[in-house]
Amino acid sequence: MSFLPTGSYREGDSVLHRMDAFCKLLCTILFLAGVILSDSFPGYGLAAGCLLAVTLVSHLGPGTALRGVKRMWLFFCLILLMNTAFFETEQIWWEWWIFRFSADGFFQGLQVVLRVAMAMVLGNLLMSTTSPLELAGAMESLLYPLKLIGVPVRDVAMILGVAIQFIPTFSEEAEAIRKAQTARGARFESRKLSEKAKSVVPLVVPVFLAAFRRADELAMAMEARGYRRTKGKISKRRRHLSRRDGIGLLLCSLFGAAEIML
């Protein structure tokens, strides 16, 4: 499937797959904080090394982990070029018309690209090694403090879980609809705005209709099986963390601390 999302769950038996989903979510947040806080190239080197190690541990392979990044290469080149050509600095490599190419701009652009790429790989690893149900449970645990201000966390987690499960189905339907409309002569690539707008209607309306029809069927099935809104007190689910979860959290905390120091 050409445009199936990169972060779809892939079954496996790696350490990362067996880790508790809540711990994995916390580790991802810690790791992401470390990546965002790092502002030196040794820091980025450490982050890249750690990400490579996590990718190897996940048994997904670098190709799968980097798939989303590879699709964005043009965007990354543009960011790098824009920063190199327009960054405000005194030390300039070369100046022409409105462009002021500089080393500072290049390194600034490189930092942005590295941060975004690493965040993408991290998100991809989390989604590829965690099943939607586990992820929904983890999100419920993470959102638990919001219950204090009256947010129905279990319902929110259920909605997010269902949404994650809908994504591959809707992707396939959207692709099928797009191909069908192209075969019927829809001109998506027209330069005229009016033609573009006209061409989008046969794509968007059926996608919404198909999505709402599926949602309607699922809602009816859930109501028929007695699913009701969760009211009153919700008992907090106890999580039994294993040694590997503890080690994972410890390593991510150490990584965050190292990134602050570097």
Partner: protein
Amino acid sequence: MKKLSYVKKAILTAACIALCVVLPMAFHAIPNAGNIYCPMHMPVLLCGLVCGWPFGLLCGAAGPLLSSLFTGMPSMAYLPSMIIELAAYGLTAGLVMRFVHTKRAMADLYISLIAALLAGRIVAGASRALIFASGSYSMEAWITSYFVTALPGLLIQLILLPAIAFALEKARLIPARYPRTA
């Protein structure tokens, strides 16, 4: 068709969140369509209009987050401001739809849509000026990015969303706002 039940609203919200991930991917196959149509805005606005403000708010907050996790877009740098903007769209669309009753479904829809599109842009501009680009964000930049550049997208949303809402109503997937009495 009767009013939407809580479970149905919840599942429709899940569908709209999933569409926040899928629609931008489908639109990226069309050259420059992502910038023109703002495809992630459509499910959020529709969710607010159909399911109400709490669900619209959730859709606006969770849609960009899941899209960023699944596809890497929007990037982490733009994610917080986009969450605030889309959450404001969903919240306002639902709130205005709840309080405005002109006895004409089309008028209600347009009033809610225009109010949501304006409120979302004001909230997004305020968040950039006060938090994300504090001190370096001007009124001109706000007007240019949210009204001039996005004008085709705004017009297309104003045409497309009522069309989608009426198509869904006709397919009996959402209830009519003012059911005809026999």
